[in-house]
C-alpha cells in the first residue's frame, strides 16, 4: 500500500503496543512481528492510518502487539471485515494477518475473493502447516500423512499450496518468505506494502510446539543455500552454495533445477508471468529448490480506485439529493 500518510520517523519499537507478547517461547511468530514492525518503520507507516486485522489462531493475536489500530475478529473472516473497512475508508493502510487454517480452511472463500477483487492491502499468511491455537490438528497445508490428534494414522488429504491457490484466484502479488530470514522478509514485506492491490505473502513459520522443524528441509542453515532460491525480477534464477545451480525448462515443458555447467542457461525471472510463477511454486525440496521472493507481481487497478471512480462518475453526471431521489418517478399532490 500507499504513500498517503506517513509516520514521522517512527522506530520499530514505536509500533509495539504495551501488551505483553504471548506466543510460545521460540515461536516463529516473534520473528515475523519484528519484521513487520521494522518494515513499518522503514516505510514510515503512520500509527493512526494503519489497521491490522486478523482472524483467530496463534498468528491472529498479532494485532494486540501493534500500537496501530487493530481488530482481532473471528475465525477466517478477517478479509471480509477488512474489505468493509477499506470500502468505508479507501485510504487506510490495511494489513491482514492470518494462519494456514484461518486463511485456507474456514477462510478459503474470502481469501480467494479478496485476491480477485484486488483490494489495496497486504495479506500475510503465517503458514506453520498446523492448527496451533487448537493444539496441533493438521491443517489444509499439512503434508500428506501428517500425524496429529485428529489424524492419528496420518492425514490422507493432499495439501493446498497457498501460492497456487492465490495464483489460481487471480492474485496479482504473490510472494514467499521465511520467518527467521529477516532481511529477506523485510524486503518482501516492503515490496508487498509498495504494491498497489492485494499483496499476498506466505511466510513459512515454525511452530515449535506442534510442528517443529517441518520446514527444515529448506530453512535449516545447512539447507538454505542448496534448497532455497530467492528470485528477483529480470534476474537469472541461480542458487546453490556455489551459485552453480539454476532453474531451467526441460523438453516436456516443465521447470526443473539443474547444474549450470550442464549447458542450459538458467531462466530469467519474469515476475509478470503468472504461469511461470505457477511453475516456480511447484518446485519443492528435495527435488527442486523452494522458491522465495516475489513469484508474481502484475499490478492492476485496485478495488478501491474503481469504486471511488464509479461514485465520482455518478456524482458528476447528475447529482441529486435524497429529497430528489424520494421524488423521482410519478408523484402527485393531495390537497
Amino acid at each position: 500500500m500507499g504513500d498517503q500518510l506517513h509516520g514521522a520517523g517512527l522506530k520499530p519499537a514505536d509500533y509495539a503496543s504495551s501488551q505483553e507478547v504471548r506466543w510460545c517461547p521460540g515461536c516463529g511468530d516473534y520473528a515475523i512481528l519484528k519484521a513487520v514492525r521494522k518494515t513499518m518503520a522503514d516505510v514510515g507507516a503512520s500509527l493512526e492510518n494503519t489497521l491490522v486485522i486478523s482472524g483467530i489462531g496463534c498468528a491472529a493475536r498479532f494485532p494486540y502487539y501493534m500500537a496501530t489500530y487493530g481488530f482481532h475478529t473471528i475465525h477466517g473472516r478477517a478479509p471480509t471485515i477488512a474489505s468493509g473497512a477499506m470500502l468505508a475508508n479507501p485510504d487506510l493502510d490495511v494489513w491482514i494477518i492470518t494462519g494456514d487454517g484461518d486463511a485456507l480452511a474456514i477462510g478459503g472463500n474470502h481469501f480467494i475473493h479478496l485476491l480477485r477483487r484486488n483490494f489495496n492491502c497486504q495479506i500475510l499468511l503465517f503458514n506453520n502447516e498446523i492448527y496451533g491455537l487448537t493444539k496441533g490438528q493438521y491443517s489444509p497445508t499439512s503434508r500428506e500423512n501428517t500425524r496429529s490428534p485428529s489424524t492419528p494414522m496420518g492425514s490422507v488429504d493432499t495439501p493446498l499450496s497457498a501460492s497456487h491457490v492465490a495464483l489460481g484466484a487471480g492474485g496479482r502479488f504473490v510472494a514467499r518468505a521465511v520467518d527467521t530470514q529477516q532481511k529477506q522478509l523485510v524486503d518482501i514485506l516492503t515490496k508487498a506494502y509498495q504494491h498497489k492491490g492485494t499483496s499476498f505473502v506466505e511466510i513459512f513459520q515454525n511452530c515449535i510446539v506442534y510442528n517443529d522443524g517441518v520446514f527444515d528441509p529448506f530453512t535449516d542453515k545447512k539447507n538454505v543455500a542448496d534448497h532455497q532460491i530467492y528470485v528477483e525480477h529480470q534476474k537469472p534464477m541461480i542458487f546453490g552454495a556455489d551459485s552453480d545451480k539454476g532453474i531451467i525448462v526441460d523438453a516436456g515443458f516443465n521447470l526443473k533445477p539443474a547444474k549450470l555447467d550442464a549447458g542450459a542457461p538458467p531462466l530469467i525471472h519474469d515476475e509478470t508471468n503468472r504461469s511461470l510463477a505457477f511453475m516456480l511454486a511447484e518446485q519443492t525440496p528435495p527435488d527442486g529448490p523452494m522458491v522465495m521472493g516475489v513469484l508474481y507481481q502484475h499490478p492492476n487497478d485496485t478495488y478501491q480506485t474503481r469504486v471511488k471512480q464509479q461514485i465520482k462518475t455518478a456524482q458528476s453526471n447528475n447529482k441529486r439529493s435524497i429529497n430528489g431521489f424520494l421524488r423521482d418517478g410519478t408523484t402527485w399532490t393531495v390537497k
Binding site: F71, A88, S321, L326, R327, T333
Partner: protein
C-alpha cells in the same frame, strides 16, 4: 408454542361473494387482478393501472404475485404471473381477501386465479389464449369457456389477441410484437370499466418506448382499442362501468412505494441524518435483493454497495465498514441471516453499530422463497451463541420501512449495537401511496463519534446510554485493539477475569434493556385503551388486522388493535397496556413466535392465531377470530 389455535379459513373455492361487490355501478373499493404468462406484461400494465388509480384519487395497495420460476414455458401453471390492486374510496390496508375483477390471458391463469374471484365477480378472458394446448397445459379436460363452469361470474370473453392485432396493423410490427400489446388492450378495457382517462398513460407509453415509436404507437392503439371496446360491451349490456369514489388522503406530495424501495431510501436518509457514509453489503437472496438493487442505483449520494461472495462476507464487510466509521448495513432473508449470526455475535461483543435487515420468507430451510412469512422472530431475538442480546424491530408496511430504517440506524449508532430489522417478502414487493417526507424536517441522528485522544479507554461507556465511544481508524491518538475475546470493561484488553465477564455480560444486557426506555411508548393503534379484546400484531399483519378491527368495531365489538414495532426490547409500558384488556389475540404468520416471546417477557396471557400458508391473513379470517374471541369473553 404449543397451545396455538389455528385459523380455519373457508376453503378458497367457497369464498365470497363480497358484501361490497355490487352491480349498481358503484363500489367503495375494488380489487382487480390481472393474470397471464410471465411474458404477458401483466406487471407492467398492473403498475400503470395503480398509478392511474392513485392519480384518480384512490387509496390503494398493490401486490405483484410473481411465479417461483424464472421463466416457465408459456401456458404452464407455474409460469403464471399476476398483479393485484386493491383501490378505493377509503383507507386501503390490504390486498383484499378476494378479487372483484379478474383478467386472465390463458387457461393456466384462469385455473390458478379463479378461486380468488368473488362469486358474481367480473371475469375477463382472452379467448385467444385458450388453445387446446394451453387448456391441456393447465389441466382442463373440457374448455371452461364451453362447459358452463363459469356460470356464476359476469363473464366477458374476448378475442383480445385478434383485436390487438387489428389495432396494431398500421404499425407494421411482426405478429409476435403486435401480440405483445395485448396487455395494453386489457388495460384500456379496465380504464373504461372504471371510467378512467387513459391519456396520461398514453404519454407514459410514448416516453417509455421513445426509442421504438412504432411499438409505442401500437401499444397506445391497443389501449385505445380496449377502451373503445368497453363501450361496445356496455351497449351489449353484459357489464357496466363501475364507479369507485375517491379518498381524501392527508394533504401532501405522494408517490407509490414498495417496501424494498422505502427501506433503501430510509437507509440512505439515515446515513445522511447521521452524517455517515452508507455502506451496504449483501449477497443476493429472494426477497431481500431488491434493497441491494435500489441502493446500487444511489451512487450519486455516495452510497456504496458491495455484492459479497456470501452472507458471512456481507455481514463482515458491513461490520468492517461500521468499524471504519460508516453506517454498515447488510440485508438478507432467513437462511442468509443464519449464516451471519457468528458475525453478528462479534458485533455484539465489539459493540459496533450494524444494521441487519431480514426480509422474511417461508421456512424452514429454503422453504418457499417467494412466499411471505414471519417466522424469523426466534432467530432474531435468540439465534446467537452466548448471551448476546440485541434490539429487534419490525416494519409493518412499505412506507413504514422508511421510518424503521431510520429508527434502526438511530438505535444502532446511539447504543453502539447491531440491530435486526425485520421486514418480509410481502412488504418488500407490495406498494402503496406514500406521503413523501422532506428529509430536512427529520431529526438528526447523534453518533458517539470520538476524536479526543485524552484519556481514551475503548470500553468506557456513556453513563446514560452505556454506549462506548466510536473511535474510528484514521483518528490520531485513538489507536486501540478490539476483538471477540472477552474484553476488560474499561480498557478493552483481553480479560479472562471471572468478575469482568460477569460485569460485561450484565452491561451488555442492560444496555439493550435500556433501549426500552428510549423508544416510543406502545399506544393503541385503533379502538379504546381497554376493552374486551386487543389484537396484537407485528410486521406485515398490520393491514389485515387493522381492517378487521375497523369492520368489527363498526359492528359494535369492543376490540382494539395494538401493533408492535419494537420486538426486543418491548416498550416498557407494553405489559401494562395489554393488561387492560380482557383478552389478547396474537395473529402471526408463524407457529406462534411472538406469543412465546411475550410469555418470556411476562406479558399477560394471550392466545395465538397462526397461519403458515405463505400469504397474508385474510380480513375475513381475522373477523371470525375476533368474533370467536369476544364470544369467549362474553361466555365467561
Amino acid at each position: 408454542m404449543t397451545d396455538m389455535a389455528k385459523s380455519q379459513p373457508a376453503p378458497r373455492s367457497d369464498r365470497g361473494p363480497s358484501s361490497k361487490a355490487t352491480n349498481d355501478g358503484s363500489m367503495e373499493t375494488a380489487i382487480v387482478r390481472i393474470a397471464g404468462d410471465s411474458g404477458d406484461g401483466v406487471q407492467l400494465v398492473g403498475g400503470r393501472f395503480s398509478i392511474n388509480s392513485a392519480l384518480a384519487g384512490n387509496d390503494l395497495v398493490t401486490f405483484p404475485d410473481f411465479p417461483a420460476d424464472i421463466r416457465a414455458p408459456t401456458g404452464s401453471i407455474y409460469g403464471v404471473s399476476a398483479y393485484q390492486l386493491h383501490f378505493g374510496g377509503r383507507n386501503i390496508k390490504t390486498i383484499g381477501d378476494h378479487v372483484d375483477v379478474l383478467v386472465a390471458f390463458n387457461p393456466a391463469a384462469l385455473k390458478t386465479n379463479l378461486p380468488l374471484l368473488a362469486k358474481g365477480g367480473i371475469l375477463i378472458l382472452d379467448s385467444s389464449g385458450f388453445s387446446a394446448t394451453n387448456l391441456r397445459k393447465a389441466g382442463y379436460e373440457t374448455s371452461p369457456l364451453e362447459d358452463n363452469s363459469l356460470d356464476g361470474y359476469q363473464l366477458v370473453q374476448l378475442d383480445i389477441g385478434k383485436m390487438t392485432m387489428l389495432a396494431a396493423t398500421p404499425f407494421n410490427l411482426t405478429k409476435k410484437h403486435a401480440l405483445r400489446c395485448k396487455n395494453f388492450f386489457a388495460l384500456g378495457l379496465l380504464f373504461w370499466l372504471f371510467d378512467r382517462d387513459p391519456s396520461k398513460t398514453a404519454a407514459w407509453i410514448k416516453e417509455k418506448f421513445a426509442g421504438r415509436p412504432e411499438i409505442a404507437d401500437a401499444n397506445v392503439a391497443a389501449m385505445n382499442a380496449g377502451h373503445s371496446h368497453g363501450e361496445t360491451i356496455e351497449l351489449s349490456g353484459d357489464i357496466s362501468k363501475i364507479h369507485v369514489p375517491t379518498y381524501q388522503m392527508e394533504p401532501g406530495l405522494y408517490r407509490a412505494i414498495t417496501g424494498a424501495d422505502a427501506m433503501a431510501y430510509g437507509l440512505a436518509t439515515a446515513a445522511e441524518l447521521s452524517n455517515r457514509q452508507l455502506v451496504m453489503a449483501s449477497y443476493p437472496i429472494t426477497p431481500s435483493t431488491n434493497i441491494l438493487h435500489k441502493l446500487a442505483n444511489m451512487k450519486e449520494l455516495g452510497v456504496m454497495t458491495f455484492q459479497a461472495e456470501d452472507e458471512i462476507a456481507a455481514a463482515g464487510a458491513a461490520l468492517g465498514a461500521s468499524y471504519a466509521g460508516a453506517l454498515g448495513v447488510t440485508a438478507s432473508s432467513g437462511p442468509g441471516v443464519a449464516l451471519k449470526m457468528e458475525m453478528i455475535g462479534l458485533a455484539v461483543a465489539t459493540e459496533l453499530p450494524l444494521i441487519i435487515i431480514n426480509s422474511q420468507r417461508a421456512g424452514p430451510s429454503t422453504g418457499l422463497p417467494t412466499k411471505t412469512e414471519q417466522s424469523d422472530l426466534y432467530q432474531s431475538v435468540f439465534g446467537r451463541n452466548g448471551d448476546a442480546p440485541l434490539p429487534v424491530l419490525a416494519a409493518r408496511s412499505p412506507g413504514d420501512s422508511f421510518y424503521c430504517a431510520i429508527e434502526a440506524a438511530r438505535i444502532a449508532q446511539k447504543y453502539m449495537t447491531p440491530v435486526i430489522l425485520l421486514t418480509d417478502g410481502f412488504i418488500n414487493n407490495t406498494s402503496e401511496p406514500w406521503s413523501i417526507p422532506d428529509i430536512d424536517d427529520l431529526p438528526r441522528i447523534e453518533v458517539p463519534n470520538r476524536t479526543d485522544p485524552s484519556d481514551y479507554k475503548p470500553y468506557e461507556r456513556d453513563e446514560k446510554t452505556l454506549a462506548r465511544a466510536w473511535a474510528i481508524p484514521g483518528t490520531p491518538g485513538l489507536e486501540h485493539r478490539i476483538g471477540g475475546l472477552e474484553r476488560d470493561a474499561l480498557t478493552g484488553a483481553v480479560s479472562y477475569s471471572p468478575e469482568n465477564h460477569q460485569k460485561m455480560s450484565e452491561l451488555r444486557a442492560q444496555k439493550v434493556a435500556n433501549i426500552g426506555f428510549d423508544i416510543e411508548e406502545l399506544t393503541v393503534d385503533q379502538g379504546d385503551e381497554s376493552g374486551d379484546l386487543v389484537v396484537v400484531g407485528w410486521g406485515s399483519t398490520y393491514g389485515p388486522i387493522s381492517r378487521s378491527v375497523t369492520t368489527m368495531r363498526a359492528k359494535g365489538y369492543a376490540v382494539s388493535h395494538v401493533h408492535l414495532r419494537h420486538i426486543f426490547p418491548f416498550p416498557t409500558n407494553q405489559c401494562e397496556l395489554l393488561s387492560r384488556f380482557k383478552r389478547i389475540l396474537v395473529p402471526e404468520m408463524n407457529m406462534g413466535q411472538l406469543i412465546t416471546l411475550m410469555k418470556a417477557m411476562d406479558c399477560p396471557a394471550a392466545s395465538g392465531l397462526t397461519k403458515l400458508e405463505g400469504q397474508p391473513f385474510m380480513v375475513s379470517e381475522l373477523e371470525v377470530a375476533i368474533s370467536d374471541a369476544i364470544k369467549e369473553v362474553k361466555n365467561g
